[in-house]
C-alpha cells in the first residue's frame, strides 16, 4: 500500500491499485465520527455511444441512461441497498454528472460493513422488466421538478446554446420520452461496459484504520470474478468550434428574469496539470473581477445591472470546457450589453500584484477549509480524480500560479464563441 503525506494539509492518503484494476484511496480523519465512502465510475450522461464490452460494433443508447442506471442500482437480489445501509445505521445516495456516476454512504458506525456493502451493491445488477418500468414514473417526476426550476433551465439552456453535437448539451436525466424508451437490455449493456472495476475508483474518508479497511476491500474483490478488462471505446465526438446559437429567450412563470452569458472554450490542453492550472487561473480571474472586493463588480452593482446573485464559473471535463456568467436580473438586456462589452475589452484590464496575492490567499484558505468535511473531501477527490489530478495537491499548485497565468487565460473570452440564454417573465 502506497502512503502519501501532504505537508500543507497535514493529511495522509493511502493508495492501492487492485489486481482487477480497481483504484482504492483511503484518507483517515482522526477524531471524526463520520465515514464517507464514494464509489465512482467514469460513466456519465455523455457516454451514450460506445462499443459494448466483448463486442465490436458501436451502439447508441437513449439519453439519460447513466442516470436511469443509477436509480436502479439500489435494487439487489435480496432487497434494497438503501435499506441495508439503514440497518447499519448509515445513509446512502448517488448522483450522476455528465462524466461520472457516484454511489455513496455516510455513517457513524459499522464503517467496514458499509464499505463492503457499497462494493457489493454496485457490483451486482438486479433488474427486471417490471422494476425498470416502475422507475419511469419516478424519474419522470424528477425531470418535471427540474423543468419548473428556472435556475436549472437558464443554467442548462446556456450550455445547450454552445454545442452543436456534444452530448453535454443533453439533460443528464434525458427527457420523459428517452426515459420511456429505455430498456432493461440497454441498462445491462451499459452496466457491463462501464462498471468494470478497471473503470472505477473507491474513496473512503473518515473514522477508519487504513490497513484494516484496505485488507477488507482486497479480500472482498478477490472473492469476485470479473472479465479481463478492455479499454473502453467511446465515440469520438466531433464538435465544431462554432456555437450552436447566439441567443435564446424562454418565457417562464417567474417573478424575476434570469440571464447567463456562456462562452465555449475550444482549446484542448494536453496534460491534467495544464488543465488544472487553467481552471485555477480562471477562478482567480473571476475573483479578481467579480468578487465583492473588486472594482468592476461594485461598479456594476451600483449601476443596478447585477445583484448578489451574479456569479461567474468555469467548467471543464474530459473534452469540453465553458465559462458561464450571469444571475437574476430584470434589466437583462443592459447586463448582456455590459458583459459583451467587457468580453470585447478584457485584454485592457490590468491587475495589481497586491490584489492578486490577496485573492490567492483566499483560494488557498478555501481549499484548506474543504479538509474539515468528509463529504467535501470525497466529492473534490472524485471530481478531480477522473481528470487525472489528486486533489490534495491543489493547494500547493495554487501557490505556483503567477499573474501572467491570469492574463494568459483572458484569451478564452471571445465574442465569437459567446452566447446568451434568458429566462424571462
Amino acid at each position: 500500500m502506497e502512503e502519501l503525506y501532504y505537508q500543507t494539509l497535514k493529511e495522509t492518503l493511502y493508495h492501492e491499485k487492485l489486481d482487477n484494476g480497481l483504484e482504492v484511496y483511503l484518507l483517515p480523519k482522526v477524531g471524526f465520527e463520520k465515514t464517507y465512502g464514494l464509489f465512482s465510475t467514469r460513466f456519465g450522461s455523455v457516454d451514450t455511444t460506445f462499443i459494448p464490452l466483448g463486442e465490436n460494433k458501436m451502439i447508441t443508447v437513449e439519453d439519460g441512461v447513466a442516470h436511469f442506471l443509477e436509480h436502479k442500482m439500489f435494487d439487489m437480489k435480496d432487497g434494497d441497498a438503501a435499506d441495508k445501509f439503514a440497518l447499519l445505521g448509515a445513509s446512502s445516495n448517488a448522483f450522476t454528472s455528465s462524466s461520472r456516476t457516484a454511489y455513496l454512504f455516510s455513517t457513524t458506525s459499522h464503517e467496514n460493513e458499509c464499505v463492503e456493502l457499497l462494493l457489493d451493491f454496485v457490483q451486482e445488477l438486479a433488474i427486471t422488466d417490471k422494476s425498470v418500468e416502475k422507475e419511469k414514473g419516478i424519474i419522470g417526476q424528477e425531470i418535471k421538478m427540474y423543468d419548473d426550476d428556472p435556475d436549472w433551465r437558464v443554467y442548462f439552456g446556456s450550455i445547450e446554446n454552445l454545442y452543436q453535437n456534444h452530448p453535454v448539451a443533453k439533460d443528464i436525466a434525458g427527457t420523459v420520452e428517452t426515459v420511456n424508451r429505455t430498456t432493461k437490455e440497454m441498462l445491462e449493456t451499459c452496466y457491463k461496459t462501464f462498471y468494470h472495476p478497471n473503470n472505477m475508483m473507491l474513496f473512503v474518508v473518515g473514522n477508519i484504520d487504513p490497513h484494516v479497511t484496505m485488507k477488507l476491500i482486497i479480500d472482498n474483490q478477490n472473492k469476485k470474478h470479473f472479465d479481463l478488462p478492455q479499454p473502453i471505446v467511446r465515440r469520438e465526438i466531433k464538435e465544431p468550434l462554432d456555437i450552436k446559437t447566439p441567443l435564446v429567450e424562454k418565457t417562464m412563470d417567474v417573478e424575476m428574469s434570469k440571464i447567463i452569458v456562456s462562452i465555449k472554450v475550444n482549446e484542448q490542453l494536453k496534460t491534467p496539470l495544464e488543465k488544472l492550472k487553467r481552471e485555477l487561473s480562471l477562478n482567480i480571474l473571476f475573483d479578481l473581477l467579480f468578487s465583492k472586493s473588486s472594482k468592476l463588480y461594485n461598479e456594476w452593482l451600483e449601476k443596478g445591472i447585477i445583484n448578489d446573485s451574479f456569479s461567474a464559473n468555469f467548467t471543464q471535463e474530459r473534452d469540453y470546457a465553458f465559462i458561464q456568467m450571469g444571475g437574476d436580473q430584470d434589466r437583462y438586456l443592459e447586463l448582456k450589453d455590459q458583459i459583451y462589452d467587457f468580453i470585447e475589452h478584457i485584454k485592457d484590464i490590468k491587475f495589481n500584484l497586491e490584489d492578486f496575492e490577496r485573492i490567492k490567499r483566499k483560494n488557498i484558505g478555501n481549499f484548506i477549509n474543504v479538509y474539515n468535511s468528509p463529504e467535501a473531501i470525497a466529492n473534490l477527490f472524485s471530481r478531480y480524480y477522473f481528470e487525472g489530478i489528486i486533489s490534495l495537491d491543489i493547494v500547493d499548485i495554487i501557490s505556483t500560479i503567477q499573474l501572467e497565468d491570469i492574463y494568459s487565460v483572458m484569451k478564452y473570452f471571445d465574442l465569437k464563441y459567446t452566447s446568451t440564454f434568458i429566462v424571462k417573465k
Partner: protein
C-alpha cells in the same frame, strides 16, 4: 465538552475540539418574532456585512476578509417558534495551517466587535450608499424567492395555516414593508437590538480557556436582561380543514400538508414525535417514501418534517395534479397504519439507527453542533447530546402510536399547473 462563561453582554460557549482546521465563531441575536420588526431585522442582517468604520464599504471589508485567507463571514435569519434570530457566523483557517505565523484569531474576534460597536455608520445613519444597495438586494431576494416553487408553496402553507400565529410570520420579512424603512429608523433599531437582543456566542475549534481573555479584551456588548419565548404549541380550532389550490404555469404540482400534533420542543412528547416523524416521512426508509414513491411511482420527492418550535408536522411532495387525491389517500393511510401500530420492530430499529446516525454526524459539523446547543440554551433545556439520544432510543411503539393519534390535518396548500 462545552464550557460556558458569562461575559459582558453575552454568554460565551466554548466547544474545544482538535478535529477541525478552522475556527468557527457564531454570534446569535434573539428577539421576539414580530410582524412589525421582522423586515427590519432581515434588512439589519444584510447591513451587518457592509463593513466597519475601518473598512467602510463592502469592497474594503471583503479585501480585509480575503487577506485573512478568505475568512468566511456571513449573516442569516431564522425563526425559533416565537423568536427571531440573527446569526452572525465567521469561519477562519486555524493559523496553524498557515505558511507564515499570523494572529488570525484575534482579528476574527475584533472583526465582530467592529461590526457591532464600530459599524460603517456616521451621525446615527448607516453608510447611505450601502443602505440603498442592501435594501435593493433584500427586495430582489424576496422577489426571486417566489421562483423556487418548492419553498414558495411551503411558505404559502405557513401563511395560511399560521394566520395570526407566529407560524404565519415570514422569517425573512415582507416586500411591501421594505420601501418604507428609512436609514434613520433602521439604525435606531440596530441600537435597540444591541441593547435588547439576547446574545449567545459560540466558538468551535482548537481553542482553550485562554480565548476567554481575548473575548474580555476585544468584544464587549451592552448588558441586557431580556428573555424571549421560543417554542410553543400551535393550536387552532377549525370546523373544516383549509384547502387552498393555486395555479401557475408549472408542470409539477407541489403538495404541502400541515398537521397539528400534541407536541413541541419542551413537551415530554417531543422524543416520541421525533421518532414518529422519522418513521412517517423523515427519511428514505420512511413509510411515505416507501409507499408513495417506491410502490406507487407517484413522485420523486416526498417527506415529512417536525417543526418542534411551532409544534407542527408537515408533509411535502411533488406530484401530478391528477394524482392529488390518490396521494392524499396514501398519506392518510400511512398515518393510520402508524396509529394502529402496523409497523415492525425492524422498521423501528432502522429508523432509530438513522436518527442516531444523523445526530452523531452533527458532531463533525461545527455549525450543526452550535445549532443543537443553541436550541437548548434558548429554551433552558438541560440535556446533553447523549441524554437526548438515549431518550430517542427509548421511545416505545405504544408512545409512537399515541402521538400519531394526536395528528390532526389542518391545512393543505397545493400549487399546480393551470387546468385545461
Amino acid at each position: 465538552m462545552e464550557k460556558n462563561y458569562m461575559m459582558k453582554g453575552y454568554q460565551l460557549h466554548l466547544i474545544p475540539t482538535t478535529k477541525f482546521k478552522n475556527i468557527t465563531i457564531s454570534l446569535k441575536l434573539q428577539n421576539k418574532l414580530d410582524l412589525k420588526t421582522v423586515t427590519k431585522r432581515t434588512l439589519l442582517s444584510f447591513m451587518l456585512v457592509t463593513g466597519t468604520q475601518k473598512y467602510p464599504s463592502t469592497q474594503e471589508f471583503s479585501k480585509f476578509l480575503e487577506n485573512l485567507y478568505g475568512m468566511k463571514y456571513g449573516t442569516s435569519v431564522t425563526s425559533k417558534g416565537k423568536s427571531h434570530i440573527i446569526n452572525m457566523n465567521s469561519i477562519c483557517i486555524n493559523q496553524e495551517y498557515l505558511p507564515y505565523q499570523e494572529d488570525l484569531l484575534t482579528q476574527q474576534i475584533q472583526m465582530l466587535n467592529d461590526v457591532l460597536n464600530h459599524p460603517n455608520a456616521m451621525n446615527h445613519l448607516f453608510n447611505e450608499q450601502m443602505f440603498e444597495i442592501k435594501k435593493r438586494e433584500l427586495k430582489e431576494r424576496l422577489i426571486v424567492q417566489k421562483d423556487d416553487k418548492f419553498s414558495y408553496s411551503l411558505e404559502k402553507l405557513f401563511e395560511y395555516m399560521g394566520k395570526d400565529q407566529p407560524l404565519g410570520i415570514s422569517t425573512s420579512g415582507y416586500l411591501e414593508e421594505l420601501d418604507a424603512i428609512t436609514n434613520e429608523e433602521l439604525f435606531a433599531y440596530f441600537k435597540q437590538c444591541l441593547m435588547e437582543d439576547h446574545k449567545h456566542l459560540y466558538v468551535v475549534g482548537d481553542i482553550d480557556d485562554s480565548i476567554v481573555s481575548l473575548f474580555e479584551q476585544y468584544l464587549t456588548l451592552p448588558e441586557q436582561n431580556h428573555t424571549y419565548d421560543t417554542s410553543y404549541h400551535y393550536q387552532v380550532y377549525r370546523n373544516d380543514i383549509q384547502e387552498i389550490i393555486e395555479e401557475q404555469d408549472i408542470t409539477q404540482s407541489k403538495l404541502n400538508i400541515g398537521y397539528q400534533i400534541d407536541s413541541e420542543f419542551m413537551s415530554h412528547n417531543h422524543y416520541a414525535t421525533t421518532v414518529f416523524n422519522a418513521l412517517f416521512g423523515g427519511f428514505s426508509q420512511s413509510k411515505l417514501f416507501k409507499v408513495v414513491r417506491e410502490q406507487h411511482s407517484l413522485c420523486y420527492y416526498i417527506s415529512s418534517s417536525y417543526d418542534a418550535f411551532n409544534g407542527i408536522v408537515i408533509v411535502n411532495a411533488g406530484i401530478e395534479r391528477k394524482d392529488y387525491q390518490k396521494t392524499r389517500e396514501l398519506i392518510d393511510e400511512q398515518l393510520k397504519l402508524i396509529q394502529q401500530g402496523k409497523f415492525s420492530d425492524e422498521e423501528l430499529d432502522i429508523i432509530k439507527g438513522m436518527l442516531k446516525n444523523a445526530l452523531t454526524r452533527s458532531k463533525d459539523e461545527s455549525l450543526s453542533m452550535i445549532s443543537l446547543l443553541y436550541n437548548r440554551d434558548i429554551t433552558g433545556k438541560e440535556e446533553t447530546d447523549d441524554e437526548y439520544l438515549s431518550k430517542l432510543m427509548a421511545v416505545t411503539k405504544e408512545e409512537i402510536m399515541a402521538i400519531a393519534g394526536t395528528m390532526k390535518l389542518d391545512t393543505i396548500f397545493l400549487l399546480t399547473g393551470r387546468s385545461e
